[in-house]
């Protein structure tokens, strides 16, 4: 509990989710909130901007902050979410099978994607994700060894992210994501239950650390029926 504006943000999120402020209602004005939280208006505005960015409110000039609908199906695939968090949200029987966990030198393609030289060692992790008894997602992770000296099958079966952020204290700050639909490869057909599906959804992720260094490249290959992406785009200035 440090940052005032974060505390205020969390407090307001809770109140909205508890239904204390309903959809289409107005939040108290910034001046009122300033008083109730005993702070300055700019700090209140920081908290409100967070609410706005995360899809809780829409600010309207001259009126106030309107509470808006978060879609029912609004689970946050948008942004950075690991399979572990995701399967917990979806509340399904989830299992992970590790097919490969090796140290290699990067191919030319990977050298380019990860911006490394051919002499830097790279972890290659291939995992199949099972939901409701079917193998539906193939995750291929490539991590720069320099940042991740150790990696075991147990870590990969659980969640690499949890390990990186928890044990290693690495701070992941942002990711660039590219989504395309492609023909399945032989590897896809081998490791996934494909049953007559003709395409595969490929999500390429470039993951950056807090200090702006690129350290991981991931391909997450989804059977099309098990793919859904939700995005929340706010219009900014030109």
């Amino acid at each position: 509990m440090k940052n005032k504006y974060l505390v205020i943000y969390q407090e307001l999120v809770e109140q909205i989710e508890d239904g204390e402020y309903k959809v289409d209602e107005l939040l108290p004005s910034e001046n009122e909130l300033k008083e109730t939280f005993d702070t300055s208006r700019e700090t209140i505005r920081k908290a409100l901007n967070l609410l706005s960015q995360n899809g809780y409110i829409q600010k309207v000039r001259g009126k106030g902050s309107v509470v808006i609908t978060r879609n029912k199906f609004d689970f946050p695939v948008s942004g950075l979410v690991s399979f572990k968090e995701l399967s917990e949200k979806l509340d399904q029987n989830a299992e992970t099978v590790v097919h490969d966990l090796t140290l290699t030198n990067p191919s030319r393609h990977l050298q380019h994607q990860l911006q490394v030289t051919k002499d830097q060692e790279i972890w290659r992790v291939v995992r199949a994700r099972h939901l409701a008894g079917e193998s539906v997602i193939l995750d291929k992770d490539f991590l720069i060894k320099e940042h991740v000296p150790h990696l075991t099958e147990d870590i990969c079966k659980d969640s690499i992210y949890t390990y990186l952020e928890g044990e290693l204290g690495l701070k992941i700050s942002f990711a660039k994501k590219e989504i395309t639909v492609e023909e399945p490869t032989l590897e896809d057909k081998e490791l996934l239950d494909f049953e007559g599906f003709h395409n595969i959804v490929v999500i390429k992720n470039y993951v950056y650390l807090d200090d702006a260094t690129l350290f991981q490249y991931t391909e997450s290959r989804h059977r099309p029926d098990r793919f859904r992406f939700v995005d929340f785009a706010r219009r900014h200035q030109s």
Copy 2:
């Protein structure tokens, strides 16, 4: 040219894109920028936060603002982009065929999606988008007549967004987007050049106005080879 922080933002974007600041280099510090732009630090910070949100820089505590790579293929499909802007970016021969432009009463499904009653009239617009001579995208737009009294084929052939924002002065503020992969419908097969493709990428858009009212529901149906989505996700606080 009004908002100081926007002017500063645009100035810095230009300098970065012109290569005055290169990838992995630091921008001048906030205090220096404060002086050069003759303003306060908070205003500089507002501009820098915009740069950060739009993927130009990564701020590192104790060091400065690092310029980061925008991928070469980084055309902004992320966020709200109309077909017109998109085809201009891609620099292809683009054409739009209007297949339907009618006023109807909403089906039960649409009543739900648009949150309207069955008595409110709705524009139904169906357009096929042609790129390089092939019909590859099917756009189905549903607009609430209350907000858009007039609509002509010419407007639809050009860009509905341009008309709404330009002529009508409507301000679009944000959209919720959902991407899935589905089986093509008969309509898809009729109106698109499908040639052996087995899936279709469906992008459902819920578009909101400045005052937080929902006014449009759109389905954009892409042939899989013509679909690509780029996202830039920043990790925020818990």
